[in-house]
Symmetry: C2
Subunit: 168 residues, 2 copies
DNA sequence: CCGCTGACTTCTGCAATCATAAGTCAGCTC
DNA sequence: GAGCTGACTTATGATTGCAGAAGTCAGCGG
């Protein structure tokens, strides 16, 4: 463990990846819409009904997530019906699955009633339950408290010994 | 893949683990405070300053997270100072790390500027970067689109063939 | 070319969230 | 026991988020 945390006040969180992710999809309704998308929902009315939100909220969130590239609007046509549009996950959106898995897993562990979790996600090949786990690039499992924080290339230092503190 | 998703409207999301997690820590400020806690912040003023939020918001969020059991208020005393209280992660709070790791990772991948991510989390033993990955109980890596949704013990069915639809 | 339907959008108003600034409080130092 | 300091709490007002209801719109069927 380095002493990077000792100088915590010396770096800015302006470009924090967690904060940026939350800017894009950090509201309750946006995350629930992403959950629904992973559960196979594709149509506007179904999103609103199944997430349990009003149409204005569904509209705003779907528009934002589409603009951010997590969802895409694709035309489809049922026989004898006019062309309609569905919202489906892009690669960028599908890559969001670990976030939802981690959220679901935490809720399964710490916020479930006696009956247990309502849903179980299983591996297609073997049927075993899927979990989000932490692993390092060397292939080791990383348990809680077995990690430390290091400076990355995008770290912005501020304060006394910083190059040029432009912003706060 | 079962046809569970076909009957999507037949089950309620009242006890959805994702939704429950978001009820507890689903706001932007709560998640950022949890991030700060993992970065080692423990004191009230530091939380407010480093997260970049006002004191009322910090106060409310810390109170909620403490009440929910993710943080605990512990007394400490610096020499020559009166007793003060610090907020530190409980086991329940530490178990939240996969959520933040997944959020950070998505931001690192999809929302970083040219300079790259500001922080890198490394494995204490080997120094390699830590990631959130999906794995099944049989030990297989689960890639995107290699999972399906199954009914869990807590699934609540509603509608025509449901036992007794009490709520909406 | 008219009515119907699913997919939105707009309107209205309420409730929650948040920052700024000012006020309170406890208890160690002196 | 008065002052000081960190840790909050309490106004106040702006902003955002949200629901419900009503309105718009496009295009297929008839």
């Amino acid at each position: 463990m380095t002493d990077l945390l000792q100088e915590r006040d010396a770096w800015s969180m302006a470009n924090c990846s967690v904060a940026r992710t939350l800017e894009i999809a950090g509201t309750r309704t946006a995350l629930l819409i992403m959950r629904e998308a992973f559960l196979g929902t594709r149509r506007f009315d179904d999103f609103a009904k199944r997430v349990g939100i009003g149409e204005p909220a569904a509209s705003a969130r779907l528009k934002e997530l589409t603009a951010a590239g997590l969802l895409e609007r694709v035309p489809y046509q049922e026989p004898g019906q006019r062309t309609r549009y569905a919202y489906q996950l892009t690669e960028k959106g599908r890559d969001f699955l670990p976030v939802l898995t981690a959220l679901r897993q935490w809720g399964d562990t710490w916020a479930t009633d006696e009956q247990g979790p309502p849903l179980v996600v299983r591996h297609r090949d073997c049927g075993a339950a899927v979990h989000a786990v932490l692993r390092c690039d060397d292939g080791h499992d990383v348990r809680l408290r077995e990690s430390y924080v290091d400076a990355g290339p995008g770290l912005i230092r501020v304060g006394p010994d910083a190059p040029e503190p432009d912003g706060a």
